[in-house]
């Protein structure tokens, strides 16, 4: 009798332990499957949202050109309203305000001497974009739109100005690519204290070698010359652009271009002195060029002035006629000279744009990739998306 009782007790205990163990095993298997299903859903959602952003221009569709339309946006999209398929508006992209940006959107701050700073009130912020996409509180994302071709320009030590241009894609260097360039430089022989802004455009058959590298020498310019160099690389089916501006901090500081607004073909740019201790006069000469796809710049406005401690900024009214282009500025204090450039439309000098939240440290981030065109410059649009709702099965 006692033996049977012990047998029952042992059997019951072992049975219960085994039952709990197997419930745990099966539950773990189910949990893993649920997590996988959730990841799959996020991945599908990532692809959908990326296409949704890239394949519609938003509403009103002219919001890229108009600050007032940006404030009335009822649907978000980045497609160029004049085209179909994956072609993006160079102006809509400049109106994106990532979390953390304060007064200006800081698309580009002193990247190779180039700036793209648009006043925050002219932009649409990340929170509004997620609301317009219908994912606010459900998903966060980061959209990175970068030129497919990287065009690196560097100075080579020499008596004359000598530049080395390296072109490569996401996979390989771009060999045998043709290069056209625009060269601007500031003369040290000045008109008063104003730097003289010179330019030289060429469509010479400069070509990269098998490593994607080309060099160009300017024998008429010394190595210390302040310059801005813009180059467009082209081979069968793909184009890219890059730039380098030699930005010098003079004794009177340097200049920072802030785009206050652009609306209906007009842009308002403030050139502000980034002061140094001396706070002397800083003189500038600036030109705005519209840059069509054929890479032949069209002069569309010249400006000259000076800034100092009493007048720390100057206001430039630029007529853009809704064309992409760039403002190139030569400045100097009479002894030292520098140059910088600001883009109006991201494709004119190949500015990359990163918009959205930071994906680092997130549990599961789905990514997807598309090839897009901005103007005729090839870009890649990469969307990273993650869920804010844990691992519940949602679809």
């Amino acid at each position: 009798m006692t033996g049977a009782t012990i047998d029952h007790l042992v059997a019951s205990t072992v049975f219960l332990a085994a039952l709990l163990l197997f419930i745990g095993f099966f539950n773990q298997m189910n949990q893993t499957a649920i997590v996988y299903q959730n990841h799959k859903h996020i991945s599908t959602k990532c692809s959908d949202i990326l296409d949704s952003i890239l394949l519609n221009p938003g509403s009103p569709s002219d919001w890229g050109f108009s600050g007032s339309s940006t404030r009335k946006l009822t649907f978000f999209g980045l497609q160029d309203p004049d085209f179909q398929e994956y072609r993006l508006s160079p102006f809509s992209l400049t109106r994106l305000l990532s979390p953390g940006a304060q007064q200006y959107n800081n698309v580009s701050w002193d990247l190779n001497g180039g700036y793209l700073l648009l006043q925050a009130s002219e932009c649409i912020d990340y929170h509004n974009v997620t609301s317009l996409l219908g994912i606010n509180g459900i998903y966060d994302f980061q959209l990175a739109i970068a030129p497919t071709l990287t065009v690196n320009i560097s100075e080579v030590s020499d008596a004359h100005l000598n530049l080395r241009i390296q072109v490569y894609g996401t996979g390989f260097p771009l060999s045998n690519a043709y290069l056209n360039y625009l060269m601007f430089w500031a003369n040290t022989s000045t008109s008063g204290s104003f730097p003289i802004l010179n330019c030289n455009f060429t469509s010479d058959a400069l070509q990269t070698d098998s490593s994607g590298i080309a060099s160009i020498e300017f024998p008429y310019l010394s190595s210390g010359t302040a310059f801005t160099f813009i180059v467009k690389a082209y081979t069968t089916g793909i184009s890219g652009t890059g730039y380098l501006a030699k930005e010098t901090v003079t004794n009177s500081g340097n200049l920072i271009p802030y785009i206050q607004s652009y609306d209906v073909g007009k842009a308002n740019v403030i050139l502000a002195q980034n002061p140094q201790t001396g706070m002397g006069n800083l003189y500038f000469n600036a030109s705005f060029y519209a840059l069509p796809d054929n890479f032949v710049p069209i002069p569309a406005g010249n400006f000259a002035g000076n800034v100092n401690s009493g007048t720390p900024s100057q206001n430039l009214q630029i007529t853009t006629n809704n064309q992409t282009g760039f403002l190139v500025v030569a400045y100097g204090d009479g002894n030292h000279y520098g140059m910088m450039i600001t883009a109006l439309g991201v494709d004119s000098i190949g500015v990359p744009v990163t918009f959205g939240a930071n994906p680092s440290g997130k549990d599961w981030v789905a990514t997807d990739l598309r090839q897009v065109l901005i103007g005729d410059i090839a870009y890649q649009a990469k969307l990273s998306l993650w869920s804010l709702q844990g691992y519940g099965v949602t679809g």
Binding site: D7, H8, V10, A11, S12, V14, F15, A18, L19, F22, F25, F26, M29, T32, A33, Y36, H39, K40, I42, S43, C46, S47, D51, E85, Y86, T148, L149, Y168, G169, T170, G171, F172, P173, L174, S175, N176, A177, T235, T236, G237, I238, S239, W364, A366, T367, D368, L369, R370, Q371, V372, L373, D376, A378, Q380
Partner: protein, 432 residues
């Protein structure tokens, strides 16, 4: 004994778990969250063909240099871990076969595309090919009033004849050549209209079909008046407009007024040679608003009574309707999407004269219609563009084409020898 049974149960449950684990195979992380290779391939092809470079290379199959450059571009724009195979196939002429696999040329950066791959296909056209568009012909006669013995008003900067020529040229693709009739003088117009007293029927000018025609008055706010009508209705020219309305109803015409206030003047340089329109233009008589009122009564077959009440209103800037904007792209006619309308007709005429707005050219503004085709409930239509001078005949074209909707037949894109099928297959390098 029970312990042994439990051990057997445990064995059974272990077996069940192992069996379930064997069948419940979870996908690899790469399969769970893959890059959408199909979309990546398609967008890559679109990018490469943005300047028609892919099309050029696809047809230049013997040019190794061009294909090498294409491969360099392809390698440069795809991520390093993506392997690819791009093949350009000839479109096949054989039945049941879309492309000719033996006639293609390929480039690839790997011997195989791994365990999983995806493709996108893209059809490119030869630069030697011209794709034609053939419009559907409208089964109606187009009368263009090109009367040499009448003058125009509010067609500033143009002559009646120059507008007539432009209109004929614009509509030439949409009508049979014999269906476009220039009404060269008011005598011919009188022949079309028939006897001035309203008895009898009008006669064709060139054996064309008079019924269901479109009549475009190129004289602006003035309308040509035949001598017989001018003589009969000299005491009240609005009666001529009334007869016009009745004829429009009788013949199911679409009467087109290209600018301003319709039928505000009548014009005949011989019959009215001693009369000026109030602005110094001889051969023209101002009928004022009575002309349009009489016309509307005529089209609605109401009895005539003189009414000089002003109908139109100045509504300022008006915008093209969604239908018109859509048809701008379809027919390739691109007038300015905003126009100034100072002679917009009130919406109330639709109820007063039993009209319906068949085609809106402009959006309604302030309850006034600046441009629309008004169909009478029985037969006959009025297409009135109440925009201010100078007339824009593209609006006339847009309105007529929007109303009749002729189809544009485009040549086939997949014709053998003119197109190639380019297939880009992408895979991911490396293991799971």
């Amino acid at each position: 004994m029970r312990t042994v049974e439990i051990l057997i149960v445990i064995l059974i449950m272990t077996g069940a778990f192992l069996t379930a684990s064997f069948f419940a195979v979870l996908p690899s992380p790469r399969q769970v969250s893959p890059i959408n290779l199909s979309r990546l391939a398609l967008t890559t092809l679109q990018t490469l063909d943005a300047q028609s470079d892919l099309s050029t290379v696809a047809f230049d199959t013997t040019n190794d240099t061009a294909w090498n450059q294409l491969q360099i571009a392809l390698s440069a724009c795809l991520p390093p871990n993506v392997v690819y195979n791009l093949t350009a196939y000839d479109i096949s002429t054989q039945n049941g076969q879309l492309y000719n696999a033996t006639g293609g040329r390929s480039i690839s950066n790997a011997a195989s595309l791994g365990l999983g791959s995806d493709v996108a296909s893209y059809i490119v056209a030869s630069s030697n090919v011209t794709f034609s568009v053939t419009p559907q012909k409208l089964r109606a006669t187009l009368y263009i009033l090109n009367c040499s013995d009448s003058s125009g008003w509010w067609i500033t900067g143009y002559t009646v004849q120059s507008i007539a020529q432009e209109i004929a040229q614009m509509f030439r693709p949409y009508f049979e050549p014999s269906s476009i009739i220039m009404v060269q003088n008011t005598t011919q117009l009188g022949q079309l209209l028939g006897p001035a007293d309203g008895t009898g029927r009008g006669q064709p000018l060139q054996n064309e079909t008079v019924q269901n025609a479109i009549v475009i008055n190129t004289c602006g706010e003035a309308v040509p008046i035949p001598q017989s009508y001018a003589s009969l209705y000299s005491s009240d020219y609005a009666k001529y407009c009334y007869q016009l309305g009745r004829r429009v109803n009788q013949y199911n015409w679409t009467w087109v007024s290209i600018v301003g206030y319709p039928l505000y003047y009548v014009s005949n340089t011989l019959a009215l040679s001693g009369t000026q329109n109030g602005w110094g233009i001889y051969g023209m008589k101002m009928v004022e608003a009575a002309g349009l009122n009489a016309f509307l009564k005529g089209i609605d077959l109401q009895p005539y009574s003189y009414n000089n009440g002003w109908l139109t209103s100045d509504v300022g800037v008006v915008t093209l309707s969604p239908t018109a904007i859509s048809n701008c792209s379809y027919y390739g006619i691109f007038p300015s999407p905003t126009q100034t309308a100072t002679r917009a007709l009130p919406a109330s005429i639709t109820t007063q004269y039993h009209l319906t707005t068949a085609t809106m050219v402009f959006n309604v503004k302030n309850n006034a219609i600046a441009g629309a085709v008004f169909n009478h409930r029985t037969t006959g239509s009025l297409f009135a563009l109440g925009v201010t001078r100078v007339p824009d005949i593209r609006l006339v074209g847009l309105g007529i084409l929007s109303n009749y909707n002729p189809v544009l037949y485009k040549s086939l894109y997949t014709t053998a020898g003119t197109s190639k099928l380019v297939v880009l297959q992408l895979g991911l390098a490396g293991g799971k």
